[in-house]
């Protein structure tokens, strides 16, 4: 017997495809994939304009790097039969990942759906290292991280590993996705060190409308993230869907209230952050708690993350976009509250309030294990990588901006003074070149 509906759906396999389930999971997969571009907008709006493309590309590149890695080997490590600690290589290179049912949906669709989770989890970490980490080492880091941290932890909780067998409830990834990414972000920020301007001058978001756009699209995609984690078009999906609808609403209200008490205003960046924190917190609980509990959970979750952000900004630790305060703290609160609010009538398991205090203990074990494992492994990966290549851009390059230095592009260029280079290497006739001194001639 298993303790998780996700596992139950997979393992108590009805040997037939259910068209309704397949249809919903096709949509859910596309919804979750959209969350990574959404995250790019959320993060991209929060940084300075000279680093906006680099920040957005840190998310977008995960679509390619982590997505392909997932298909090649990481999916197998997470979900193929193996030990309690790690899956095997049975599904490496997508061997055996065909249209036959996995649960009630085609196996190949299950693989793609889970792949979207791996992609966004890796991209989440980027928020802690923006505006200073070199692009190449970043890509190498998320590839190694997916292999060493994401795939094993996904196996432990969802792939038949030991945390799932222990009875840890994680409906859609509070532990696997958010605690994992959150603590890794904290460690990455510490290993890299702060931006050169951090705590010396104000570093302000360059496009708050982008932040709101990103938060809105994240919420939209999150219906696939949580609703789809039922792996079927059923009652559990509906519960998760409605809880994903309600919890962030409560978080948004409480966040706005705290904002106005502390600063005298309800801020837009605060509102966007509150929505994301609510989504994070309800993720592990989505299919296990009642909608009324989801409102309570969302409201409660606002408080620790809010103060974690206030506190972080007073430290030297430059977790630039508060990935730990949002996803780490939000994920821990959500995972623990799952053990408080779970109800048999809604998701098949009882928590503290229904008289099963032991569930809270089991949840705490899951939280502690993932905090420790992801933290230690991230430290190791970055130290190893840092011994081979410099992780950070030089201070001068950081001042110039990561868009120009890492990508040879600018987000907002007027094109003034640009000279078209023709395919033969020459410049177009009538170019303004003669006006400009040859390089090095003047100082």
């Amino acid at each position: 017997m298993t303790f998780h509906p996700l596992l139950a759906a997979v393992q108590d396999a009805v040997p037939a495809l259910v068209p309704a389930d397949t249809a919903w999971m096709l949509v859910a997969t596309a919804l979750v994939l959209l969350m990574t571009p959404a995250l790019a907008f959320f993060y991209g709006g929060l940084v300075r304009s000279k680093n906006s493309l680099n920040t957005m590309m840190m998310s977008f590149v995960a679509l390619g790097a982590v997505g392909i890695l997932w298909a090649l080997v990481a999916y197998s490590l997470a979900f193929a039969d193996g030990s309690a600690l790690l899956g095997g290589f049975d599904h490496a290179l997508l061997r055996g990942v065909d249209v036959n049912p996995k649960g009630t949906i085609p196996h190949v669709l299950f693989m793609a759906y889970q792949g979207t989770f791996a992609i966004i989890t890796a991209a989440l970490i980027s928020g802690a290292v923006v505006e200073r980490m070199r692009f190449g080492p970043y890509v190498a880091f998320i590839v190694l991280w997916t292999l060493v941290v994401y795939a094993p932890v996904a196996h432990w909780v969802w792939g038949g590993g030991w945390l799932g067998k222990l009875g840890v409830l994680d409906f859609a990834g509070g532990t696997v996705v958010h605690i994992n990414a959150g603590v890794s972000a904290l460690v990455a920020a510490a290993v890299l060190g702060g931006r050169k301007d951090y705590a010396r001058q104000a570093i302000l978001p360059h496009n708050v409308p982008f932040v709101l756009l990103g938060a809105g699209l994240l919420w939209f995609g999150w219906f696939g993230f949580n609703g789809g984690s039922a792996l079927a078009a059923n009652a559990s999906a509906a519960t998760a869907f409605v809880n994903t609808f309600l919890a962030p609403m409560a978080t948004l209200l409480v966040w706005a209230l705290m904002d106005s008490m502390r600063t005298g205003h309800v801020t837009a960046v605060g509102g966007a952050t509150g929505i994301v924190v609510g989504l994070v917190a309800v993720t592990p609980a989505a299919g296990f708690i009642s909608p009324t509990s989801a409102i309570a959970l969302g409201a409660i979750a606002a408080v620790p993350s809010y103060f974690a952000i206030v506190l972080r900004s007073r430290t030297r630790l430059d977790d630039s976009l508060d990935v730990f305060a949002g996803h780490g703290v939000g994920g821990v609160v959500g995972a623990l509250l799952t053990g408080v609010f779970a109800e048999k009538a809604w998701g098949g398991f009882d928590g503290l309030l229904a008289g099963n205090a032991a569930q809270l203990g089991v949840q705490a074990v899951g939280v502690g294990v993932s905090l420790l494992y992801a933290g230690v492994m991230t430290f190791g990966i970055l130290k190893l990588l840092g011994a081979v290549v410099p992780l950070r851009a030089a201070t001068r390059v950081e001042g110039l901006g990561m868009d120009i230095s890492q990508h040879g592009e600018e987000a907002y260029t007027s094109g003034e003074g640009s000279i078209l280079v023709l395919s033969d290497g020459g410049t177009a006739p009538g170019a303004v070149a003669p006006v400009l001194a040859p390089q090095g001639a003047a100082n």
């Binding site: 001068r396 001042g399 040879g408 003074g417 640009s418 078209l420 390089q439 003047a442 100082n443």
Partner: protein, 120 residues
């Protein structure tokens, strides 16, 4: 009195403002400009289009100061804006015919740094 015009790197603006503040220079105008100071042209690619960016973003400061503040101001700017790489910018010091402070009608030396503290 003089008008000091400085063209500097945008990412050095905060350092320069801090240095000016510490030197007790008060009152300046800042504008974003494009310029070229002999630095290597940056090559950028936008799909099929390759361009050399001949002009760089710069920040231009204009500061009216009394004679006694000219050296202080120039030193503060040069010290804080320097990276040692081509493209750090320039400081120009110009003679000024007249200066009028609009609010009070004060003119010339009385209208530029240092100004007497204003009671609120």
């Amino acid at each position: 009195m003089k008008l000091i015009i400085a063209v500097i790197r945008p990412d050095k603006l905060n350092d320069v403002l801090e240095a000016l503040y510490r030197s007790e220079v008060r009152g300046l105008t800042v504008s974003r400009v494009m310029g070229h100071g002999g630095e290597t042209e940056r090559v950028e690619n936008y799909r099929g289009t390759t361009v050399k960016m001949g002009l760089q973003e710069k920040v231009r400061l204009e500061i009216g100061v009394s004679e006694s503040f000219v050296d202080i101001t120039v030193r503060a700017i040069v010290r804080s804006a320097r990276t040692g790489e081509v493209g750090d910018g320039k400081v120009f010091v110009l003679d000024v015919g007249q200066v009028h402070r609009i609010r009070s009608g004060e003119r010339d030396e009385a209208a530029v740094t240092p100004a007497l503290p204003v009671e609120a």
